[in-house]
């Protein structure tokens, strides 16, 4: 089975992308997924386990996995790593106290070999809150400058409440994945 056959295979699956949403609990993952899918975000209960959403984005079909982030199930994230094309790491930019925790979990995640090829979008969420850290500040705290050079990554400030930044972020992610996987069309 050569390169071409795998490419054909991918094409047959109608340009699907598998995207994993992770981050600490309360960072806004579920709200973001519902918002980009145009669903009601007024009542969201904390996620136990995970949700899957299939979203059409331009000519792509995104399978978005939204995984619960509370401490008791973080060790469970690894069950979702297989074949992940894009990783969205969501940060609550107003939760200064848990930024250490956030950095540690992100560092752990990026050590995963199975995620080594995935494009990484970091969403500095809740920018609508006065006093929230800016994407620049979040980048410094998370020490993103020291990231593995081979990783494709980007940080974008956003708010799941106002919708600001979400399109920019997902646009980058989808284009980046597409340029890796579907360029031989």
């Amino acid at each position: 089975m050569g390169l071409l056959s795998i490419i054909r295979k991918i094409k047959r699956k109608e340009k699907e992308m598998r995207i994993l949403m992770v981050g600490l609990d309360n960072s806004g993952k579920t709200t973001i997924v519902l918002r980009i899918n145009g669903e009601d975000t007024s009542v969201i209960s904390p996620t136990l386990g995970f949700n899957i959403k299939t979203i059409k984005y331009e000519k792509y079909t995104l399978n978005i996995w939204d995984v619960g982030g509370q401490r008791t199930i973080r060790s469970y994230w690894r069950n979702y790593f297989e074949q992940t094309d894009g990783l969205v790491w969501v940060v609550d930019s107003s939760d200064v106290r848990r930024l250490d925790d956030c950095k540690m979990e992100l560092d752990n995640l990026l050590k995963e070999e199975r995620l080594s090829g995935a494009s990484l979008l970091i969403l500095a969420n809740k920018q609508d809150i006065q006093g929230a850290l800016t994407p620049n500040e979040i980048a410094k705290v998370l020490n993103l400058g020291a990231m593995d050079k081979t990783r494709h990554w980007k940080i974008v400030g956003c708010s799941a409440y106002t919708g600001e930044g979400l399109l920019e972020g997902f646009n980058w992610l989808v284009q980046d994945i597409a340029s890796r996987i579907y360029v031989l069309d």
Partner: protein, 361 residues
């Protein structure tokens, strides 16, 4: 394959500049790595499946899935019927094995989900949650003692939860290096003992607020805020106007909270009463002896604040608590509804009532 590659190269050479070529080469490398890893998995899976292309065949996945499901169900039935004492003694470890098998099955689904039709993914997930539920039922049928055990406060909270796979990651050996970058603190009340702490939020603020390391304090926050973080409170009474976003509570002991919010998460709370109005279901984790009642707060202008934050009107969710550490159909022993006769009556924290020794910021 060589052919195709060189073809592509030729074409690329004509239309792409060198940067694009580099990018292209890197892409091919990544692609072939991805392909390689997919291939390897395919091979490792071929060994125990016999479809023509097991790697991508929905049917072979479904065969494997239903076989595993059947065997788990059989095991569960067997455990349910065990009566002789010898086998009873082994039950606990058998049930643990079943729990591991269910986790494996869940992993199988997530690993294969990238090519499965979404209907199959969803129905497989539904099956898994049903299996988990039957496991919980069997657990509480045949091993009921935990339910009645007297809880020792000092007991470590390491009873395995159903949601946890067998491979719990030890992450605390990773020490987060402190960057020399100075993080500014969010506004809040911190490190106080025995005071009355009062703060009013103007409607223009819409910020977040933190309560942390308070001992024997009374806190009164009026007006609307966007987010509230509560960390390490002992012996405190906390009255808060509506929070438009979420409230995150960690490590509180012997407190009373009166809170209205869209989302409330409670971690590591003990012996604490919560009077809540919530738009979604409140959750507790690693908590015990926590009790719940409806929100009973009053101050001048609270109606408007509640209205503005879409928290007017009782939702009834104060009683719909989910214990993320107790994923079973039967009531969690960690929380209860506060009996009517033990509830406080409506608390009025209007400005006129503010005692003179209060501390305002």
């Amino acid at each position: 394959m060589e052919e195709d590659l060189s073809n592509t190269k030729e074409m690329s050479g004509k239309i792409l500049d060198t940067i694009a070529q580099k990018k292209h080469a890197a892409m091919i490398e990544r692609l072939s790595n991805l392909h390689q890893s997919r291939l390897q998995q395919s091979i490792s899976r071929k060994s125990d499946s016999n479809g023509p292309s097991p790697f991508e065949s929905t049917k072979s996945f479904l065969d494997r899935f239903s076989e595993a499901k059947r065997s788990i169900q059989n095991e569960l039935d067997r455990c349910r019927q065990v009566s002789d004492p010898d086998s009873k003694a082994r039950l606990k470890s058998e049930l643990e094995k079943i729990s591991v098998s269910i986790s494996d099955l869940e992993r199988l689904v997530s690993e294969n989900s990238y090519y499965l039709p979404s209907y199959e993914v969803r129905s497989s997930l539904k099956t898994i949650s049903e299996l988990k539920e039957s496991l919980d039922n069997v657990n509480s049928e045949v091993l009921p003692k935990k339910k009645f055990a007297f809880k020792n406060k000092a007991t470590k909270k390491d009873q395995t939860s159903v949601a946890q796979g067998p491979d719990v990651r030890v992450s605390d050996k990773v020490v987060a290096e402190k960057s020399n970058f100075q993080i500014r603190e969010s506004p809040g009340f911190r490190n106080r003992e025995g005071g009355i702490l009062v703060k009013h939020f103007k409607s223009s603020e819409e910020g977040d607020f933190t309560l942390s390391d308070l001992n024997s304090c009374e806190v009164r926050l009026t007006g609307v805020l966007r987010a509230l973080f509560i960390h390490r409170l002992r012996n405190c009474r906390v009255f808060v106007g509506p929070v438009l976003g979420s409230i995150l509570i960690e490590e509180v002991d012997r407190c009373l909270f009166m809170l209205a919010s869209h989302q409330i998460r409670i971690h590591h709370a003990r012996e604490t009463d919560f009077y809540l109005r919530v738009r979604s279901r409140p959750i507790i984790e690693d908590s015990s002896s926590v009790r719940f009642a409806p929100y009973l707060l009053f101050y001048e202008g609270i109606e408007k604040d509640l209205n503005d934050s879409i928290l007017d009107g009782e939702t009834g969710n104060w009683a719909n608590v989910d214990d993320f550490r107790w994923l079973r159909a039967i009531q969690s022993p960690n929380w209860s509804i506060l009996p009517d006769d033990e509830r406080v009556s409506t608390v009025n924290i209007s400005n006129s009532e503010t005692p003179s020794q209060s501390e305002e910021i």
